[in-house]
């Protein structure tokens, strides 16, 4: 059971309340695809990711980045029950998508909606997406950096600690159902 102090709760809810998902989501994903180019492997259906300019201009990347933050939003609203919140999605990911839990520092609700729509087509189920180890650790780090750049010195050491703890809990919860 994860314990949150009042300060941690206030920090996490504060960050998300003041965040522009449309601005930061795309930036975090763009940064991840540029800084860790091997992550592009998992977005081959997104179109042109050939260079930094293409990645920045790619509307699929931007849309996905926004979805990632909306997915994290679910955990922010259920901080005392993140495990259960992501349980359904975790099962979905382990059984249908074969996503490596060590990668997962990302989304829930938005992802579930998107994937349940796609699951009606065979291609996603049979395609067996397997994310490499640490992919979502990399995305989490990029999100931390974008928030740091946005908030500047307001992103104090304590703020950073709370935020990274939050992301770590989300990843752990998503990994729960794997076996």
């Amino acid at each position: 059971m994860v314990e949150w102090t009042e300060q941690e709760r206030s920090i996490i809810t504060g960050i998300f309340a003041n965040l522009s998902y449309e601005e930061i989501g795309p930036k975090a994903l763009v940064r991840c695809l540029i800084v860790y180019p091997w992550t592009q492997r998992y977005f081959s259906s997104f179109g042109n990711l050939y260079n930094a300019e293409a990645i920045r201009g790619n509307p699929n990347v931007a849309a996905h980045g926004i979805k990632v933050l909306h997915g994290l939003d679910r955990a922010v609203k259920n901080m005392d029950n993140i495990k259960a919140t992501y349980a359904e999605l975790s099962v979905l990911h382990s059984e249908k998508l074969h996503v490596d839990p060590d990668n997962f520092r990302v989304s829930s609700a938005g992802l579930q909606q998107m994937h349940s729509a796609h699951l009606k087509a065979d291609r996603l189920v049979s395609r067996r997406l397997t994310f490499p180890l640490f992919l979502h650790q990399l995305l989490a780090d990029c999100l931390t950096i974008e928030i740091a750049a946005k908030l500047g010195t307001a992103f104090t050491a304590d703020t950073q600690a709370a935020f990274q703890k939050f992301l770590a809990v989300v990843v752990s919860a998503l990994g729960r159902q794997y076996h």
């Binding site: 800084v35 500047g152 990274q164």
Partner: protein, 143 residues
């Protein structure tokens, strides 16, 4: 993932902008590491004060960034250039090399905090590679 000529140019250009604030970067990165990864405090159990404003944290932040600066200067041959520092870490300090990644991440976070406009993804990737190469050089003499 060796450093290309372009990577080295980017690192040097960024360092020219950041080195003036080296002490600030170093002490901030160190403070964040201690706060976010409390297991790293074990290496500083002999310090009285681990708070960000403490004289020891500031001084050590400066020391760390001097090492980074030395890396920038010797960027064409880090393993040979940082042999002495590697021996210090391997035989005297005996810092687990896994911690180099942690400190590197915190240095990058501080670059983002203090120099957001300059710390673009393109600069980020070059610096990430550089810090990884620096970490490898520091690990050289461990075993």
């Amino acid at each position: 993932m060796s450093l290309t000529a372009e990577d080295k140019a980017i690192v040097k250009a960024f360092w020219a902008k950041a080195s003036g604030r080296a002490e600030e970067v170093g002490s901030e990165a160190l403070s964040r590491m201690l706060a976010v990864y409390p297991q790293t405090k074990t290496y500083f159990s002999h310090w009285k004060d681990l708070s960000p404003k403490s004289a020891q944290v500031k001084k050590h932040g400066k020391t760390i960034m001097a090492g980074v600066g030395e890396g920038v200067a010797k960027i064409d041959n880090l393993n040979a250039g940082l042999l002495k520092l590697s021996e210090l870490h391997a035989f005297t300090l005996r810092v687990d090399p896994a911690n180099f990644k942690i400190l590197s991440l915190n240095i990058l976070v501080v670059f983002a905090v203090l120099l957001p406009a300059e710390f673009t993804p393109e600069v980020h990737v070059a610096l990430d590679k550089f810090l990884a190469a620096l970490s490898r050089a520091l690990s050289e003499r461990y075993r």
